[in-house]
C-alpha cells in the first residue's frame, strides 16, 4: 500500500447490533471473522470475482453467523463470566471445512464451519420428510443419490477447552505446527493440543506466591510464525519476553527480554500505565515484533533487545491529557496493531474513529476515519488531521473535540492484498486500496 498516495476507498460496511470485540482474516483472506460482545461470531466471505460485474470485485458478504459463547455464572466464585469474544484465530485450511478458535474470558472453543450444498435423497426407510415408512409399503429398493440443495453453512463446535484459566484470557495463538496452540490469561499461559481438551500444559506462570507482591500481568502473547518452539509475551510494564520451549517445560525464564529504557524527561505518574503493552504481533517474516502501548507503536528487531528499531507516535497530542484520560478510564483502552502482508505498513486505531497507518519504508503516515458519513461506496477516504494547538485549519479537528467513546481498538489486514477491516464500536468497515 502506498499510503502516501492515500488512495483508499470504502468497500463495504456492515452494521452490527453489538460491540465488535475482535476481527480476523483467515490465511487466504477469503474469510473475515468478527466476534462481538454478545458472544456471536459473524463470518464474512469475499465474493468471487466475476467477469460480468467487475466493479463488484471483492465485496464481503455475510457467510455464517453463530453463537459461540453464552454468558455463564461461576457459582463457586459468585462471578459472571462474560460471553464477549476476546479473540478469534483461524487455523490454516486443510480440507473443505474452515476451522477457527474463539475464546471468551475462560473458555476456548474450536469451531468447524462447513458448507453443505448437496443432500441425499431416496432413502428406503424414510420418506422425503424424514418420517419412517411402513416397511410393508416398500416394494423396491433404491440407492440414495445426492442432489444439489441451497447452500447451507453450518458451524459446529468441535472442541471445548475449558477450566484451565483462573484469570481472564487475553490472547490465543495457533502454533506453526498446527497441532498446538496457546492461551494466555493475566498470569499464566497454557499450551494445548487441539485433540486433547481435558489437559493443558502450563508454560508460563508469573503469579507470585504472595499475591500482595503482584505488580505485573501478561497482556498479550503470540507464537513465532515459523518456529514452533518460540513465542513472545508482553507485560503491563512495557516489557516483552521471548521464550523457547525447548529450554524447559516451564518457560519462566525468558530467552530474550525486550525493554526500552525509560525517557526521564517524559516521566510522570502515568508513565507505567502508558507503557503497558496492549498488543504484540510478529511480522510475517518472523524477524520483527510490533508492540502497541497507549501512545506509540514500536517495531523491535528480535536480535536487539535494548530498544526498538522504530517508534511511531499514534496520538502524541494525548500526552498532556493523560490525567483526564486516567479519570475516565480511557487510559486503559487496549488498542491492537497489525502488519500488512509484506510487513511494510503497520496500522493501529485511535479515538474519534480514527485509525493510523505508518509506512515503514517512506516513514510517511496517514490518519483516516471510519465513519458512515465519509463512507459512500467507492468514495476515497480523506486523510484527517488533529490540530494540537494554535490556529485550527479547516477540516482539522481539535483535540478537545475528539470523541473518546468512539475508539478503534480492533483492525485487521488482508494477508496478501490491501484490504483492511476496521471495527468501530458496533460497525465493521472494510476498505480497499484503489485499483488501477
Amino acid at each position: 500500500l502506498k499510503c502516501t498516495e492515500k488512495y483508499i476507498y470504502y468497500l463495504s460496511f456492515q452494521s452490527k447490533s453489538d460491540i465488535i470485540s475482535t476481527v480476523e482474516f483467515n490465511h487466504t483472506g477469503e474469510l473475515l471473522a468478527t466476534g462481538d460482545k454478545g458472544g456471536r461470531v459473524v463470518i464474512f466471505q469475499r465474493e468471487q470475482e466475476s467477469k460480468n460485474q467487475v466493479h463488484r470485485r471483492g465485496e464481503y458478504n455475510v457467510y455464517s453467523t453463530f453463537q459461540s459463547h453464552e454468558p455463564e455464572f461461576d457459582y463457586l466464585k459468585s462471578l459472571e463470566i462474560e460471553e464477549k469474544i476476546n479473540k478469534i484465530r483461524w487455523l490454516p485450511q486443510q480440507n473443505a471445512a474452515y476451522f477457527l478458535l474463539s475464546t471468551n474470558d475462560k473458555t476456548v472453543k474450536l469451531w468447524k464451519v462447513s458448507e453443505r450444498d448437496k443432500r441425499p435423497e431416496g432413502y428406503n426407510l424414510k420418506d422425503e420428510e424424514g418420517r419412517l415408512r411402513d416397511p410393508a409399503t416398500i416394494t423396491t429398493l433404491r440407492v440414495p443419490v445426492l442432489r444439489p440443495m441451497d447452500l447451507m453453512v453450518e458451524a459446529t463446535p468441535r472442541r471445548v477447552f475449558a477450566n484451565a484459566h483462573t484469570y481472564h484470557i487475553n490472547s490465543i495463538s495457533v502454533n506453526s505446527d498446527y497441532e498446538t496452540y496457546m492461551s494466555a490469561d493475566d498470569l499464566r499461559i497454557n499450551l494445548w493440543n487441539f485433540e486433547i481438551t481435558n489437559q493443558s500444559f502450563n508454560i508460563v506462570d508469573i503469579k507470585p506466591t504472595n499475591m500482595e507482591e503482584l505488580t505485573e500481568v501478561i497482556t498479550a502473547a503470540e507464537f513465532h510464525p515459523h518456529h514452533c518452539n518460540t513465542f513472545v509475551y508482553s507485560s503491563s510494564k512495557g516489557t516483552i519476553r521471548l521464550c523457547d520451549m525447548r529450554a524447559s517445560a516451564l518457560c519462566d525464564r525468558h530467552t530474550k527480554f525486550f525493554e526500552e529504557p525509560e525517557d526521564p524527561s517524559n516521566r510522570s505518574f502515568f508513565s507505567e500505565i502508558i507503557s503497558s503493552i496492549s498488543d504484540v504481533k510478529f511480522s510475517h517474516s518472523g524477524r520483527y515484533i510490533m508492540t502497541r502501548d497507549y501512545l506509540t507503536v514500536k517495531v523491535w528487531d528480535l536480535n536487539m533487545e535494548n530498544r526498538p528499531i522504530e517508534t511511531y507516535q499514534v496520538h502524541d497530542y494525548l500526552r498532556s491529557k493523560l490525567c483526564s484520560l486516567y479519570e475516565n478510564d480511557c487510559i486503559f483502552d487496549k488498542f491492537e496493531c497489525v502488519w500488512n502482508g509484506s510487513d511494510s505498513v503497520i496500522m493501529t486505531g485511535s479515538y474519534n474513529n480514527f485509525f493510523r497507518m505508518f509506512d515503514r519504508n517512506t516513514k510517511r503516515d496517514v490518519t483516516l476515519e471510519a465513519s458512515r458519513e465519509n463512507s459512500k461506496p467507492r468514495a476515497i477516504l480523506k486523510p484527517r488531521k488533529v490540530c494540537v494547538g494554535g490556529k485550527r485549519r479547516k477540516d482539522e479537528i481539535s483535540v478537545d473535540s475528539l470523541d473518546f467513546s468512539k475508539k478503534i481498538l480492533h483492525t485487521a489486514w488482508h494477508p496478501s492484498e490491501n484490504i483492511i477491516a476496521v471495527a468501530a464500536t458496533n460497525n465493521l468497515y472494510i476498505f480497499q486500496d484503489k485499483v488501477n
Partner: protein
C-alpha cells in the same frame, strides 16, 4: 507431566449481590452517597445513559445469569450521574480535570494537627469538620502552604483509591487495570514518603523500610483477585470514634496503615498495618453492603430531590466547570468563608446520611 489448571481453591469470594426487595427511603439515601462519588469520577464507557427507574432484579444468582445485560446496565446506572456532567461519551470534550480547585479542598490541612487520613477526601474532611470550627481556621492557614504539585498528586491518589474501591464492587474487575492503578498508588505513596509529606507514624514503625508501610496490591485490589477476603466483618463493634468518617469514605481506610496509632486501628498495633487495613476494609464493606435486600432497588427507583441535590453537589467534585454544583461544593468545604444557603442544606443532607450510617 501436564499440569491441568482447574479451579484455584482460594479464599471464598465475598457475596457482592444486592438482591432487591422492599423499599426504604432511608436506605436510598444511604447508598447514593458512595455511588455519587464514583459517579463523578468514573463515568461509564460507551454506554448510553439509562434511566434510573429499572425494574426489580430477581434474587442473586438467578438474577445475575438472566439479567446479565440489565445488571451491566444497572451497574452503569450506579455510576451514571444524574447531573449533566461532562458526558464525554456523547462526543463532548474531555472533562477538564481541574486539579487545582477541587483538590484544594482536600489539600487544605494544618500540617501539624491534621492527620492525612482526615484530609485525604473531601467528604471525610467535611464530616470531621462538622462541629470542629476551630480546626477550620487552622486548615485555612495550611492551604496557602501547599504547592500545586502536591495538590495534583493528592488528587491523583484520591482518584486512584476510589477507582480501586470501585473495582471491589464490580463483578469481574479487570486485573490489569487494578494492578496498574495499584502501582500508581504505590508510586505516589513512595514519593510522598520520600517527600516527608506522608504523615509520620509511630517511632517503632519508622524503623522499617517505607515499603512495608506501603499498601500492598492485594489490599488495594481486594476483589480484583476475586478470591481473597473482604468477607464482611461481623460488625462495627470496635467502638472507634471515627466510625462515620471511615464508613462513609471507604478510601480513607487506605490511610489506615499509615496511622496505626489512630483510634480506629489502635487495637491492631503498628505491626499489623496490613491486617488493620484488611479489617477496616471489611468494616467498610459491612457498612456499605446492606443487610436488607431492599437497598439495591432504591438505587434504581426514582429518587426524591434531596438525593438529587446530594448527587449534584458531589458530582461537582470532579466535574467540569459547572457553577451550580461547584458553588455547593465550595460551600461544603470547611474553609469557605461564606457558604451559600444551598450548601447549608447540603451539609444538613450529609449529616443525615451520617446519621443513617451510624444507626446501622
Amino acid at each position: 507431566m501436564p499440569r491441568p489448571r482447574g479451579f484455584e481453591q482460594e479464599a471464598p469470594p465475598p457475596a457482592r449481590e444486592w438482591p432487591i426487595s422492599g423499599r426504604s427511603a432511608r436506605r436510598a439515601q444511604r447508598r447514593p452517597f458512595v455511588d455519587a462519588e464514583w459517579r463523578s469520577l468514573a463515568p461509564p464507557r460507551a454506554v448510553g445513559r439509562s434511566s434510573l427507574s429499572g425494574g426489580k432484579l430477581a434474587a442473586a444468582a438467578v438474577a445475575v445469569a438472566e439479567q446479565r445485560t440489565r445488571r451491566a446496565a444497572s451497574r452503569v446506572r450506579i455510576v451514571v450521574t444524574k447531573a449533566p456532567t461532562a458526558c464525554w461519551n456523547r462526543g463532548s470534550p474531555l472533562p477538564r480535570f481541574s486539579c487545582g480547585l477541587r483538590v484544594g479542598r482536600t489539600g487544605r490541612r494544618d500540617p501539624d494537627n491534621r492527620s492525612l487520613k482526615d484530609t485525604m477526601f473531601a467528604r471525610g474532611l467535611k464530616r470531621k469538620c462538622v462541629g470542629h470550627e476551630e480546626d477550620v481556621e487552622g486548615a485555612l492557614a495550611g492551604l496557602k502552604t501547599v504547592s500545586s504539585y502536591s495538590l495534583q498528586r493528592q488528587s491523583l491518589l484520591d482518584m486512584s483509591l476510589v477507582k480501586l474501591q470501585l473495582c471491589h464492587m464490580l463483578v469481574e474487575p479487570n486485573l490489569c487495570r487494578s494492578v496498574l492503578i495499584a502501582n500508581t498508588v504505590r508510586q505516589i505513596q513512595e514519593e510522598m514518603t520520600q517527600d516527608g509529606t506522608w504523615r509520620a507514624v509511630a517511632p517503632q514503625a519508622a524503623e522499617r523500610a517505607p515499603l512495608d508501610r506501603l499498601v500492598s496490591t492485594e489490599i488495594l485490589c481486594r476483589a480484583a483477585w476475586g478470591q481473597e477476603g473482604a468477607h464482611p466483618a461481623p460488625g462495627l463493634g470496635d467502638g472507634h470514634t471515627q466510625g462515620p468518617v471511615s464508613d462513609l469514605c471507604p478510601v480513607t481506610s487506605a490511610q489506615a496503615p499509615r496511622h496505626p496509632q489512630s483510634s480506629a486501628w489502635e487495637m491492631d498495633g503498628p505491626r499489623e498495618n496490613r491486617g488493620s487495613f484488611h479489617k477496616s476494609l471489611d468494616q467498610i464493606f459491612e457498612t456499605l453492603e446492606t443487610k436488607n435486600p431492599s437497598c439495591m432497588e432504591e438505587l434504581f427507583s426514582d429518587v426524591d430531590s434531596p438525593y438529587y441535590d446530594l448527587d449534584t453537589v458531589l458530582t461537582g467534585m470532579m466535574g467540569g466547570a459547572r457553577s451550580g454544583p461547584c458553588e455547593g461544593l465550595e460551600g461544603l468545604a470547611p474553609a469557605t468563608p461564606a457558604p451559600s444557603s444551598s450548601c447549608k442544606s447540603d451539609l444538613g443532607e450529609l449529616d443525615h446520611v451520617v446519621e443513617i450510617l451510624v444507626e446501622t
